[in-house]
Amino acid sequence: MKIVVCIKQVPDTKGGVKFKDDGTLDRGAMLAIMNPDDKAGLEAALRIKDEYGAEVTVITMGMPKAEDVLREALAMGADKGILVTDRVLGGADTWATSQTLAGAIRNLDYDLIITGRQAIDGDTAQVGPQISEHLNIPVISYAQNIKIDGDSVIVERQYDDRYHVLKAKMPCLVTALAELNEPRYMTPGGIFDALQAEITVWGRANLVDVDDSNLGLKGSPTQIAKASDKVRKGAGEKVNLDPTESVDYIVGKLKEKHVI
């Protein structure tokens, strides 16, 4: 069985957030960690490997330093790491990112693709499902449990107040929640091996069936109007009114701000 896990290097929220002039994140200037949902996805893949035997390939798109997150995954027990990096891929939104990753994954044999539900920097939850669309395979999102049953996966898909049990024939894609499991630690020996391991590096030329117009900042439909690192809160407003007047006042304010 072959599993591909998409992982992302995201800013460590402990280290502060920095932006470039175009409003995109200045990833080079920030401390980075493996995105928590992706780490749970990787752990799910490693547990499948432990139980059924599997080859786990981790893939990430990012700057050259994103290699660190691949080596961390190898030190946890992944078998191969692929870094997709190229200047023309920079500034990608979810559309361009999913196009890039799908283009890279088309080079690989796989039974199962696991992505995190969403990254803590963008919080869109779009890349996983988009990859499945590009590759034309089924997707089950928000997995809180993943089991293998012959040539199918059985996934508990989480909702607010319940979960659905879904079965899909492989190949398919599953997006994982951080709550899925408690990811294992790297092992010391795994670290030593991971730093010796060869990471496959792919660029634009290695992407299969992807048009240039779907890549990088230029291929990204999302336009960032403004970005800031802190939402400044006003001092608020205090009014003394009776209950009926209060309701009218609040409703009026909400209408004024187009909340309702």
Partner: protein, 388 residues
């Protein structure tokens, strides 16, 4: 000379630190209060490979160097001295002599389970009459057919009741040296559950209170002849060589305790206000912190140097590391005692309460000046090398 850590050591340190902060620190106070061995933490460490760091991969270990192992003990000890010594005694005092002196069969039999943490190791040398004077051994081993029969007792044994595999020393005869009749000491591997091997009293200790320190009792305890470790009569050398390595582990524990106390104190003096200012704004505090940090850094260099020297020994089986280990342990232990004492002083009355970590750290630090060779023994080792 290069003081920059390699990438693998940086990553390993980050791993140990994360583990210590998440898994060990939240339990440290409880382990101290209840004096209960942190079994669940040991199982987590086993899963993460922390119990076989310098053991070669062919015996199921992590195949890392001594420096990585030292960093593990250091980071664990920053938050919990008990957890640090559990790893140190297991690795340096049980796995290491089996790896160094064991036959291929013994290595194959014992190391994979020890390195994976399925089994825990301990070391029994000390007796009521044989502390610093290891020649004062009373425990005897007599060969009877295909078995050695052990009689006697060992005290102050770290991981005492919790271990599964024990490296035990016993007198196997006498030998004449320069006209004097000396005890011939040999080393053995004894497994828990062997008939005649029982546990005596548990020590009630000042510090490292969760580390399960027990008396081991051997009453007509029969072990297979093949459990002799190394050559018969070479036990004293095996013990001394093992302790040279063990001292690096304890030096790392002491280093961690001192560094941990310094970290807590730096946090505290920024928050604690007196006379309208954080106490960190007073020059006395600043000077104390500067001294503490400088000594901790000096200790780290000595400990890492000893680890790198032992790594060299692993490569060439020649390089001596006993003096480096003695210097590292002597300095790191005295640093730990001094730094933790100053940490308590800077915390004032709060530092004397069990609510603050530094109180426990000061109690934990003291043992590092005593076990695996007192500071006085380390001075003897160092000066003997100078006056040779």
């Amino acid at each position: 000379m290069d003081f920059t850590l390699k990438k693998e050591h940086e990553m390993a340190r980050a791993l140990f630190r994360e583990f210590a902060e998440k898994e060990v620190k939240p339990l440290a106070q409880e382990v101290d209060e209840t004096e209960e061995f942190p079994r669940a933490t040991v199982e987590k460490m086993a899963k993460a490979g922390f119990l076989g760091i310098p053991i070669p991969k062919e015996y199921g270990g992590q195949g890392c160097d001594v420096l990585t192992y030292v960093m593990c003990v250091e980071e664990l000890s920053k938050v919990c001295g008990t957890t640090g010594v559990i790893v140190s005694a297991h690795t340096s005092l049980c796995c290491d002599p089996i790896l160094t002196y064991g036959t291929e069969e013994q290595k194959q039999k014992y190391l994979p389970d020890l390195a994976s943490g399925k089994k825990l190791g301990a070391f029994g040398l000390t007796e009521p009459g044989a502390g610093t004077d290891a020649q004062g051994q009373q425990t005897k081993a007599v060969l009877d057919g295909d078995e050695w029969v052990l009689n006697g007792s060992k005290i102050f044994i770290t991981n005492g009741k919790e271990a599964d595999v024990y490296v035990i020393f016993a007198v196997t005869g006498t030998v004449e040296k320069r006209g004097k009749l000396l005890k011939e000491i040999s080393a053995f591997i004894v497994e828990k559950g062997t008939p005649g091997f029982t546990f005596g009293t548990k020590e009630k200790k000042m510090g490292i209170r969760g580390s399960s320190t027990y008396e081991l009792i051997f009453t007509d305890c029969r072990i297979p002849k093949e459990n002799l470790l190394g050559q018969q009569g070479k036990g004293f050398n095996i013990a001394m060589h093992t302790l040279d390595g063990g001292r690096i582990g304890i030096a790392a524990q002491a280093l961690g305790i001192g560094e941990g106390a310094l970290e807590r104190t730096v946090e505290y003096v920024k928050e604690r206000k007196q006379f309208g200012r954080a106490i960190g704004a007073f020059q006395n505090t600043q000077f104390q912190l500067a001294d503490m940090a400088t000594k901790a850094q000096a200790a780290q260099f000595l400990v890492y140097k000893a680890a790198l020297t032992k790594d060299q020994y692993t490569q060439d089986h020649k390089t001596a590391y006993g003096v480096e280990a003695a210097m590292a342990k002597l300095y790191a232990a005295e640093m730990a005692m001094e730094v933790t004492t100053k940490a308590v002083q800077l915390h004032g009355g709060y530092g004397y309460t069990r609510e603050y970590d530094v109180e426990r750290m000061m109690r934990d630090a003291k043992i590092t000046e005593i076990y695996e060779g007192t500071s006085e023994v380390q001075r003897m080792v160092i000066s003997a090398a100078l006056l040779k």
